[in-house]
């Protein structure tokens, strides 16, 4: 019990002590297009992702070799009135009657699927596992989706009239008050995401803010209405007609969209990885933490679950924040990106907003964040998001990210941070190319 009680307050007990029992690598990955697809259901989306995964295994995959499946899904029960998605996906992929397990951690559901898959392989129970996620949200109205997502807030927050954007709005105000940041700093996050997304063919929104401003002007011209004369992106984003408030200071362009999508990765024991590809991506650290809601957070400018997850993953991998070359983080709302990159140690407390303003998180910057366009622009089908983040890291590390490939450097270490609910579940996973 050495240090057990101190673990919660003084830093994770496990940090640096637990190693993965048997190495695990990703040898294939796939993701559907993200967006709102009236003519596709969850099965179609997962089929799209699984098809790409099979094609992505360099030396070929016989799907019959897959021994078990983990599938993340937050709330298709609510969104499309169908629960128990595990066997549906096993059947779809032709892998029934193999074991399948659904994981639920709100917007972090599919990272939990990967985590379980890693532990199953590390334990020796299985050698080859399919892990992924799916969510189908767009068949519901915006009000219904808002209600569905709010199921994952802390119970007391709902009583007080908090919505999902509301919780992040409250965190943003706390961050502004503590560090002197403002809405213009959140806009830097949004503008950067909109710069990356047009280079991602699977992204939901492929327009820059400037593209959207031009489209709005064109529409005004055609309708004979006054044409806005915004000088730059921020002037447009400060205009409530272009960017209306949702939950102050969260405005429309601070919030990720409603999306449908699916994603999956193929996990194998390290000693088998070269049978599948000469270029596997190894999982070298993973961590997960839990959080308690706004009333009990030790800090309103940090997620305690993030800090737990990061300490575990860094401890397991032996790596430090400075060793991570790029990351996908859970920017469900713009403020979340700033908080995450501080919690993960990429930037000091109260420093992220300045670093983002200086372009350090752009593709060409010192620490590229969300080269995929992030949740804001790539889309956020909640149960598929964690593994879609891993898909981006897989692409970047293998040099396969096309136009959005991080320029001018050899990439060896990337990471994903996934958040569920209002910080109730956070994960951090570190990947290495050798």
């Amino acid at each position: 019990m050495r240090g057990a009680a101190k673990g919660v307050k003084g830093g994770p007990v496990m940090a640096g002590k637990r190693k993965i029992g048997r190495g695990v690598a990703i040898v294939g990955a796939g993701m559907s297009n993200f967006g709102m697809f009236p003519d596709k259901d969850s099965k179609d989306l997962f089929a799209e992702a699984f098809r790409e995964l099979m094609d992505s295994v360099d030396k070929g995959l016989d799907p019959r070799d897959i021994q078990a499946i983990w599938i993340g899904n937050f709330s298709n029960d609510f969104f499309v009135h169908q629960a128990h998605w595990g066997p549906i996906i096993a059947d779809l992929t032709g892998l029934a009657p193999r074991a399948v397990t659904r994981t639920e951690g709100a917007c972090a559901s599919s990272t939990l699927a990967v985590r379980d898959g890693i532990m199953a392989i590390a334990s020796g129970m299985y050698d080859i596992v399919l892990a992924g996620g799916v969510e189908e949200m767009s068949k519901r109205t915006t009000e219904e989706v808002t209600e569905g997502l709010a199921l994952a807030t802390s119970p007391y927050e709902g009583d007080a009239g908090f919505t999902f954007p509301g919780v992040f709005g409250a965190l943003a105000n706390a961050y502004f008050h503590k560090y002197g940041a403002g809405r213009e700093h959140l806009m830097n996050v949004t503008i950067k995401s909109h710069e990356n997304a047009p280079l991602n063919p699977k992204a939901q929104f492929k327009q820059t803010i400037r593209d959207l401003m031009e489209a709005r002007k064109e529409k005004a011209r055609k309708k004979g209405l006054p044409v806005p004369d915004w000088a730059d992106e921020k002037e447009a984003l400060f205009d409530p007609a272009f960017n209306p408030p949702v939950a102050w200071p969260m405005h429309l362009f601070d919030c990720c969209p409603i999306s449908d999508g699916a994603s999956c990765v193929l996990l194998v024991a390290e000693e088998l990885a070269k049978n599948f590809t000469d270029d596997p991506i190894y999982v070298v650290g993973f961590g997960q933490g839990s959080g308690r809601g706004l009333h009990a957070c030790p800090s309103l400018t940090s997620f305690e679950a993030n800090r737990q997850a990061a300490a575990e993953a860094y401890g397991m991998s032996g790596l430090k924040p400075r060793d991570i070359q790029f990351a996908e983080v859970h920017d469900c709302f713009s403020i979340a990106e700033l908080i995450h990159i501080e919690d993960l140690g990429f930037f000091g407390e109260g420093e992220a907003y300045k670093a983002v303003a200086q372009g350090e998180t752009r593709r060409e910057g010192r620490m590229p964040i969300n080269t995929s366009g992030g949740l804001k622009c790539k889309g956020h089908p909640v149960g598929a998001t964690g593994v879609a983040q891993m898909y981006e890291v897989w692409k970047q590390l293998r040099g396969e990210a096309g136009e959005r490939q991080i320029p001018g450097r050899d990439l060896y270490v990337g990471a994903t941070q996934n958040l569920g609910g209002t910080g109730g579940t956070c994960t951090f996973t570190i990947f290495e190319r050798r």
Partner: protein, 138 residues
């Protein structure tokens, strides 16, 4: 001495009666709001009710313009936003609650750190009547 079981159900009943109640660990004295079954500090399991004064300061807030259905019923919406926030009580614990008596249409006029006091408001009629907790500038 209050004998109701320590639970969210009891807590919500107290709110209906206009009382803000937390729990206190009989072993180490730590006070919690909302009440907890177990003490996070010493893992003590013997809790008693503790009435809270309902005085504190505004720690952070947001003004909600895109409102959930149950707030729309009270007449809130895009043109009539409401404020909700986090209050740090003088006894230490924090509360999430609606913040009233502030200008939610002009969120920048609301000041973090301002003193606030609990109020218990009655809304709805007949079977739908209920009391909710809010805070107002003190």
């Amino acid at each position: 001495m209050e004998e109701r079981p320590i639970s969210d159900v009891s807590y919500r009943k107290f709110i209906q009666e206009g009382k803000l109640m937390g729990s206190r660990c009989r072993r180490c004295g730590k006070i919690y709001h909302p009440p907890r079954h177990f003490c996070e500090e010493c893992f003590g399991t013997d809790m008693e009710w503790q009435e809270l004064k309902g005085e504190g300061e505004l720690t952070t807030y947001t003004c909600i313009f895109v409102v959930p259905p149950y707030m729309a019923k009270e007449g809130y919406g895009r043109d009539n936003p409401y404020c909700t926030g986090v209050v740090t009580l003088s006894e230490g614990p924090r509360v999430v609650a609606r913040i009233e008596g502030v200008d939610a249409r002009n969120p920048e006029t609301i000041k973090i750190g301002m003193p606030v006091k609990a109020v218990f408001n009655r809304v709805g009629e007949g079977e739908e009547a209920r009391t909710y907790l809010a805070f107002r500038p003190a």
